[in-house]
C-alpha cells in the first residue's frame, strides 16, 4: 500500500521533473511553438491553407537545414558558409537555364555541375577555417559576405565581357551581366516536385501503413527479447492506426459532407476543411530526397569517418594525439556541408520558380541556421529531428507573421520586422547562451 503511494508520488515527481527539463532544455523551441500558435490564431488562416504552405516550405527548405548538421558534429559550429554552396547551386542553375535543358533532366544536370564547384568552395572554406580555429562561425559568416562580392563580380561584370554568354532572356540588355531576376517557369520550375505527387491523405495513408507494417515486423522479430521496448512500438502502432482513420475519413469527406453536412455547424466546418485537405499535394520525389539525406546523416555517423567527426568535435587535441588528422576531417565535414547546401539550393529554387540572381543566396545561411536553432539545436549538438522540427516552426512563423501583424496591428510590415528580429534574435541568443555556458564550465575547471 505504502509502496503504491510512494510510486504514484514518484511518478508525480518524475512528471514534474520531466516538464521542468523540457522547459529548461528546450525553452527556445517551447517559446516558438507558443508564438506560432498565437500567430496562427491571430492570422485567421484555415488549417488546409496552412498545411499546403508548410508542406511546400518543408520540401523546399529541409535539405538546406539538414546540410548544417555534419560540421556541428565535427565541432566547427554552425556553418554560415553554406552560402557558398548555395552560390555553386545557382551558378549551375544559370548554366543549365542558359543551355535550355528542362525538367528533371535539367535538375539532375544542375546537381552534377554544382557538386565539383561546391567541393572546391568547401575545400577552400575548410582550409580557411583551419587557420581561424576558435573563430569558425564569425569567419564563415564574413566569408559568406566576401564570397557574395566575388559572386557579383563574376555574374555582373565578367559574364558577357570575359565569359562569353549570349542569351537575351538571361543577360542584361547591355550584353554584360546576368539579369537580377531569372524566371524558371517552363524550364526548371517544379523539375523535381512535379515528377510525382500524391494528395495529402493518400500520402498519410501510405506512410502510416508502412509504419504499421514496420511495427508488426519489429514486434514479430523481437517478441522474445526482454528489453524490447514495447511501449514505444505500441505508441507508434496506435499513431499509425489513427493516421489511417484520418486519411480514410478525409478521402471520403465529400461523401460524408452530403450525408452529415447539415447536422451541425462544427461537423460542417470540419468536413469542409477535410475536403480542402484533399487538394493538398505532397511532392514525393523531393520528400524521398530529404529522407535519403536523413538516412545518409544517420549512416555516416556510424562509419569510421563519422566517429572521427565526433572525436574531433569533442576534443581536437586528443583526437590529433590519438592519430586522427583533425585538419583533414574538418575540411571533409565542410566539403560535405557545402555540397549538400548546393543541392539544397537547387531544390529550393526549382520550387520557388523565380530566383533573384544577387539576392537568393544572401539569407540562406541565416534562415537555415535560425531554423536549426529554433528546433532546439545548439552550437555543439544538432540532430535530424531538431532540424525538421525547427524547419516546421520557423516557417510557420513565416506563413503567419505578416497576416498576424496586419490583423493585430493593422500593418503587415510590422510582422515582417518582427520575423527578422526573431530570426536574428534567436541566433544571437543561442550563440550567447552557448558562450555563457562555456565560460561557466571553464570556471568550474579552474
Amino acid at each position: 500500500m505504502i509502496d503504491k503511494i510512494n510510486d504514484t508520488e514518484n511518478q508525480k515527481d518524475n512528471f514534474k521533473e520531466k516538464i521542468k527539463n523540457l522547459l529548461t532544455n528546450h525553452i527556445v523551441t517551447v517559446v516558438f511553438a507558443v508564438l506560432c500558435l498565437i500567430g496562427f490564431k491571430a492570422s485567421g488562416l484555415t488549417f488546409s491553407f496552412y498545411l499546403n504552405d508548410i508542406i511546400t516550405r518543408i520540401s523546399r527548405n529541409a535539405f538546406l537545414v539538414l546540410a548544417l548538421i555534419i560540421p556541428v558534429l565535427a565541432g566547427m559550429g554552425l556553418n554560415f558558409a553554406i552560402v557558398l554552396g548555395a552560390m555553386a547551386g545557382q551558378a549551375a542553375i544559370i548554366a543549365v537555364a542558359h543551355w535550355g535543358i528542362t525538367g528533371w533532366q535539367g535538375i539532375l544536370l544542375c546537381a552534377v555541375i554544382a557538386a565539383p564547384l561546391a567541393i572546391i568552395f568547401g575545400y577552400l572554406t575548410g582550409k580557411l577555417l583551419n587557420n581561424t580555429k576558435g573563430q569558425e562561425m564569425i569567419t564563415s559568416l564574413i566569408l559568406g559576405f566576401f564570397a557574395n562580392g566575388i559572386y557579383q563580380m563574376v555574374f555582373l561584370i565578367l559574364v558577357g565581357s570575359i565569359i562569353p554568354m549570349k542569351n537575351e532572356e538571361l543577360i542584361l540588355s547591355t550584353g554584360v551581366g546576368v539579369r537580377t531576376t531569372i524566371d524558371l517557369t517552363g524550364k526548371l520550375k517544379y523539375g523535381l516536385d512535379d515528377i510525382f505527387k500524391l494528395s495529402f491523405p493518400m500520402f498519410v495513408l501510405l506512410f502510416s501503413v508502412a509504419l504499421a507494417i514496420y511495427v508488426i515486423f519489429k514486434y514479430h522479430n523481437n517478441r522474445s527479447l526482454k528489453e524490447f521496448n514495447n511501449k514505444k512500438y505500441k505508441a507508434i502502432g496506435v499513431t499509425s492506426l489513427l493516421l489511417i482513420t484520418f486519411s480514410i475519413i478525409s478521402m471520403n469527406a465529400a461523401g460524408l459532407f452530403q450525408s452529415f453536412g447539415d447536422s451541425s455547424e462544427i461537423a460542417r466546418k470540419i468536413l469542409l476543411e477535410l475536403i480542402m485537405i484533399n487538394n493538398v499535394k505532397v511532392p514525393i520525389v523531393t520528400g524521398v530526397l530529404i529522407t535519403l539525406l536523413c538516412l545518409f546523416n544517420i549512416f555516416i555517423s556510424k562509419t569510421k569517418i563519422g566517429q572521427d567527426f565526433k572525436s574531433v568535435g569533442q576534443d581536437m587535441h586528443i583526437a590529433t594525439v590519438s592519430g586522427i588528422n583533425s585538419n583533414k576531417i574538418r575540411v571533409i565535414a565542410i566539403v560535405i556541408s557545402t555540397v549538400l547546401a548546393a543541392w539544397g539550393q537547387i531544390i529550393y529554387l526549382q520550387n520557388l520558380g523565380t530566383f533573384s540572381t544577387y539576392g537568393s543566396h544572401e539569407q540562406v545561411g541565416m534562415f537555415a541556421i535560425a531554423a536549426l536553432l529554433i528546433g532546439g539545436a545548439s552550437v555543439t549538438k544538432a540532430t535530424i529531428g531538431q532540424a525538421l522540427l525547427g524547419t516546421v516552426l520557423f516557417h510557420t512563423l513565416f506563413i503567419v507573421s505578416p497576416l498576424a501583424g496586419r490583423n493585430l496591428f493593422g500593418d503587415p510590415q510590422l510582422g515582417e520586422f518582427f520575423r527578422a528580429f526573431v530570426a536574428y534574435g534567436v541566433i544571437g541568443l543561442s550563440l550567447g547562451m552557448h558562450a555563457w555556458k562555456q565560460q561557466i564550465q571553464a570556471r568550474h575547471k579552474l
Binding site: 564569425i138 564574413i142 550563440l431
Partner: protein
C-alpha cells in the same frame, strides 16, 4: 635587400600593400580618363571626416579586449534616436546638431552598459554574439521606428504609422560641420569644421587612453590575467570600453548624417559596423591592437578607394556597381585576413 623587402611587407601587412597599390593604380586611371583631381581629394576628405568617428568607435572596444565591435549598430541606433528627438523639439542649426549629440549620449551610455555586461558573459565569442546583437537590435528598432510617437511632419509619414525611411536634414543640421569655416586651396574646398570635430574627438580619446582609467582599460584588454593580478577589475574596464565605443558610435552616426544630409532609419544601420571594422583594419589595427593613427589612415585609405573607384568605373565600363562590389570584396576580405591572424597556425 630581399630580407629588407620581406621585413617591410611583414611590418606593413600584405593586404595593406595591395590596397595602397590598388588605390595608386585607380588614381593613375583617374588621371588618364581625366577626372578632376581636386574633386576626388575633396570627396575623400569629406568622406574621411564623415566616417572617421564611426571608425574611432572601434578603438576603445579593441583596446579593452572585446575585439572588433560588430555591435556598432547599437550605438548608431542611439545616435539616430538622438537625432529624431532633436528634430521633434524643432531645433536646428548648430544647436540642433549638438542637442542631437547630447540626447544620444545617455541612451548610448545605458545601452553600452548592458551591451558590455552581455559581452562579459560571452567572453571568447564576443564578435559573433555582437554581430547578431547588432542585427537583432536593428530589426527590433525597425519596429520601434514604426510605433514611437514622433509627430513632426518632417518625419512622420503623411498616412499610416511610424517615421520615414530617410529623413532629410535640410533646414535642420544638414552639413553644419562640413560648412563651418571652409576655405579653398586651389579648387579644393576644405571641410574645416568636419575635420576639426573629428580630430577633436580623436584627441579626447587619445587623452582618455593616457588617463589612469584608460591605461587600466588597455591593460585589461592586453592581458586580462596580468591585469587581474595587478588589482584591475577587468570586467568593469571592458564595460567602460564598450560604453565609450557605443557613445562614439552614436556621435559618429550624427556626424555621418549631417554630412550625408539624411538620417537613414530601418534596415540602413545593419551593415555599417562592418565598414567601420574594415576601415580600422586597413589602417593597420588588429583584433587586439588599435591606435588613433590606425583610424585616420584606415578611414582615409578605405574611403579614398571608394571615392576614386566610382567615377573611374563609370568612365571605363559604365557599371556603377563596380564600386559597390569593390567595397564588399575589400572590406570583407580585410576582415577575413585579420581573423586568420588571431590564432593562425595554432
Amino acid at each position: 635587400m630581399k630580407a629588407r623587402v620581406k621585413q617591410f611587407i611583414e611590418k606593413f601587412g600584405l593586404p595593406r600593400i595591395i590596397i595602397v597599390g590598388f588605390l595608386i593604380f585607380l588614381s593613375i586611371l583617374a588621371a588618364i580618363v581625366e577626372i578632376p583631381f581636386g574633386e576626388l581629394i575633396k570627396d575623400s576628405l569629406v568622406r574621411t571626416g564623415m566616417n572617421g568617428v564611426l571608425v574611432l568607435a572601434m578603438v576603445p572596444g579593441i583596446l579593452s579586449g572585446v575585439g572588433l565591435n560588430f555591435g556598432l549598430p547599437l550605438g548608431i541606433l542611439c545616435g539616430l534616436l538622438g537625432g529624431l528627438i532633436s528634430i521633434e523639439l524643432n531645433l536646428s542649426g548648430g544647436i540642433g546638431f549638438f542637442a542631437a549629440v547630447l540626447f544620444s549620449i545617455p541612451f548610448a551610455a545605458i545601452v553600452g552598459f548592458g551591451y558590455g555586461w552581455l559581452l562579459n558573459k560571452v567572453k571568447g565569442s564576443e564578435m559573433m554574439v555582437a554581430t547578431y546583437v547588432g542585427f537583432s537590435a536593428v530589426s527590433l528598432m525597425s519596429i520601434g521606428w514604426m510605433i514611437l510617437p514622433f509627430k513632426s511632419p518632417e518625419m512622420a509619414w503623411p498616412i499610416g504609422k511610424g517615421v520615414r525611411t530617410t529623413i532629410s536634414l535640410a533646414g535642420r543640421f544638414d552639413k553644419i560641420l562640413n560648412d563651418f569655416a571652409t576655405f579653398n586651396i586651389g579648387s579644393i574646398t576644405i571641410p574645416t569644421g568636419l575635420i576639426l570635430f573629428t580630430l577633436a574627438l580623436c584627441g579626447i580619446v587619445w587623452i582618455f587612453l593616457r588617463s589612469k582609467t584608460g591605461v587600466a582599460m588597455k591593460a585589461a584588454g592586453d592581458n586580462p590575467r596580468f591585469a587581474m593580478a595587478a588589482g584591475i577589475n577587468v570586467n568593469k574596464h571592458r564595460i567602460i570600453g564598450t560604453i565609450l565605443s557605443t557613445i562614439l558610435g552614436a556621435i559618429g552616426i550624427i556626424v555621418y548624417s549631417q554630412s550625408f544630409g539624411f538620417l537613414q532609419l530601418y534596415q540602413a544601420p545593419m551593415f555599417m559596423g562592418f565598414a567601420a571594422v574594415a576601415a580600422i583594419l586597413i589602417g593597420g589595427a588588429t583584433v587586439k591592437k588599435a591606435s588613433i593613427s590606425n583610424v585616420l589612415i584606415g578611414t582615409f585609405l578605405f574611403q579614398s578607394l571608394l571615392v576614386v573607384a566610382l567615377p573611374v568605373a563609370n568612365k571605363i565600363m559604365t557599371l556603377g556597381s563596380l564600386a559597390e562590389i569593390t567595397r564588399i570584396i575589400v572590406s570583407n576580405g580585410i576582415i577575413l585576413y585579420a581573423l586568420t591572424q588571431v590564432r593562425g597556425g595554432e
